[in-house]
């Protein structure tokens, strides 16, 4: 697991930082893959792969934002599951 600190920018200006949690990222990528009807096994495999890639990227940066994580995950997911990547990227832009 990477030591990268994830800096989450809050609108009020408070900035609590938290450690990179692979499980959180894994769950969100897994959910995105399932929501486009990807088989569970494939969703699991993709989530594992994306987490590995993002964790490796995080290791090169002492601090990143949650938006960076999302972008990185979506960018790499696009190569394998473009539809899940689309939903993942636009999740906060639906409403």
């Amino acid at each position: 697991m990477s030591d990268a600190l994830i800096d989450i920018i809050k609108r009020e200006g408070r900035r609590p930082s938290e450690r990179f949690e692979r499980s959180k990222l894994h769950a969100s990528v897994y959910a995105a893959c399932l929501s486009v009807q990807a088989p569970q096994g494939e969703a699991q495999r993709l989530a594992d792969m994306i987490c590995d890639i993002v964790a490796a990227w995080c290791a090169t940066k002492p601090e990143v934002t949650s938006a960076d994580l999302r972008r990185m995950a979506a960018r790499h997911l696009e190569a394998f599951q473009p539809e899940a990547a689309y939903l993942y990227k636009h999740h906060k832009l639906v409403l």
């Binding site: 600190l5 800096d7 200006g13 002492p62 990143v64 934002t65 938006a67 960076d68």
Partner: protein, 457 residues
């Protein structure tokens, strides 16, 4: 969000190379609070691993090479040799003497705060560096570029050299394969060949130095082959690389035929990509993989953030980055913005003979459907080629139908010096006739310029 009145600095420069150093100094001299952030070695690519070390080594090795072939001048060179560690020491001395390599103290002496680490934008006015948050009113992104390894099977699993790491070798390899026949690849091919390395130079295009005119690539290929024993493999794609004992087996495809060779080292000199992975989205800075998008004033899509140097993706010359750094500093400090003037910027390849070009190449002119006149003067037409006993080279000038010089290419010893009169001519719209009627010193290499210009006058 950081309040406007609470910025740590007036200007943060990300990258201490040619693109950032000048701007940082100018801003500091103007009384601004400036910080410079550098992820690698202070001074950037050019003085530490690029121009300065390569040219220092090329100079030394060229001396050795000239002396080795000096028998025709009456020089005895049978016992001539070189000491590789001494050459490397010389290279290190050259770096140290420029003052630009590893020059953190230089900034600190100017009152500029320096930080060593990777910067990452958190918001439009804030970056993170080593988990410390710094804010600034303006930013200048000068992160430069990095070598991109091509997508070759097995390349990642074997240790390959880059133009940066090639100088850290304990001794020159016996056999070296260079992937990439551009400027850097050709310079290093010549350097390593002088060391005595058997060099294979692989290029996917139809000729080496594909960005230059055809005559340049053809001439350099012949010179490298005849004088340095370099095997040039054009129109060749490397397919795979595997370890074969202590050596490396490289498989390539040339003319639909697959072949493989065994080499000691592989050097990747295929091209560079701008370093844009610094959280630019968090700062709303628009960019692509080819570089940061800027307007004519070097402003990014976030108006308080500027960019200069290799990170823009259009040029990899130190002098261009220095110009852009100056322009960016001016535009940050002053209300009236100026644009960088790129006309007359020379492009150089430090081989022997040297290659220098300015303005439009013939290929550029053809792509734009311009009606041009061109003339070429071979080096053997001037007296200097006789006294120096060097005849391989030429000067080529391109003009429009009115005789105004649009571009020029010089292949000759000291081409990097000769090109500057042509750069002046291009920048100020001089005609070939004006150049031809300007006196050029007898026995100077520049006489070839006068002869080429006279053909167009």
């Amino acid at each position: 969000m950081v309040k406007q009145t609470a910025y740590n600095y007036d200007l943060i420069v990300i990258g201490s190379g040619a693109g950032g150093s000048v701007a940082a100094s100018i801003a500091a001299k103007n009384g601004k609070r400036v910080a410079v952030i550098e992820a690698g070695m202070f001074g950037g690519e050019s003085p530490n691993w690029g121009d300065v070390p390569i040219k220092a080594l090329l100079h030394a090795t060229q001396l050795y090479d000239e002396a080795k072939h000096g028998t025709r001048f009456g020089i005895r060179s049978a016992m001539l040799s070189y000491n590789y560690p001494s050459l490397i020491n010389w290279k290190d001395l050259a770096i140290k003497r420029t003052g630009a390599g590893d020059n953190r103290k230089y900034y600190e002496q100017q009152g500029i705060d320096t930080f060593h680490g990777t910067a990452h934008f958190l918001s439009p006015n804030e970056i993170s560096i080593n988990r410390r948050h710094l804010s600034a009113k303006h930013f200048l992104i000068a992160t430069g570029s990095h070598v991109v390894a091509p997508d070759i099977i097995g390349l990642e699993s074997v240790k390959y050299l880059t133009p940066r790491s090639v100088h850290s070798l304990m001794r020159p390899p016996k056999k070296l394969l260079i992937i990439g026949g551009g400027t850097t690849g050709v310079e290093l091919a010549q350097l390593m060949a002088i060391y005595g390395t058997k060099v294979y130079l692989v290029e996917i295009a139809a000729r080496i130095l594909p960005q230059e005119d055809e005559e340049v690539g053809v001439l350099m290929e012949r010179i490298l082959k005849e004088r340095k024993g370099v095997t040039t493999l054009t129109q060749t794609r490397v397919i795979s690389v595997v370890k074969d004992g202590v050596a490396k087996r490289v498989t390539f495809n040339r003319g639909d035929i697959e072949k493989s060779i065994l080499v000691d080292e592989i050097l990747v000199a295929t091209g560079r990509r701008p370093m844009v992975d610094i959280g630019l989205e968090n700062a709303s800075v628009a960019y692509t993989a080819q570089g940061i998008d800027v307007n004519e004033y070097l402003q990014t899509s976030a108006r308080h953030i500027f960019a200069a140097g290799d990170v823009l993706g259009h040029s990899s010359h130190t002098h261009t980055a220095l110009t852009e750094s100056r322009v960016a500093a001016h535009n940050i400090l002053r209300k009236e913005k100026i644009k960088p003037n790129y006309s007359g910027t020379p492009r150089l390849t430090f081989t022997y003979p040297g290659i220098a070009s300015v303005g439009l190449s013939e290929d550029d002119a053809m792509k734009r459907d311009l009606a041009i006149n061109k003339a070429m003067a071979p080096l053997n037409m001037i007296a200097r080629s006789n006294t120096s006993d060097f005849r391989d080279g030429f000067c080529k000038i391109i003009t429009d139908k009115k005789g105004v010089i649009l571009g020029a290419t010089v292949v000759a010893p000291h081409a990097a010096e000769i090109i500057h009169e042509l750069a002046l001519a291009v920048r100020h719209g001089m005609t070939a006739s004006e150049l031809a009627t300007t006196p050029h010193a007898f026995l100077s290499w520049s006489e070839v310029v006068r002869i080429a210009a006279a053909k167009l006058a």
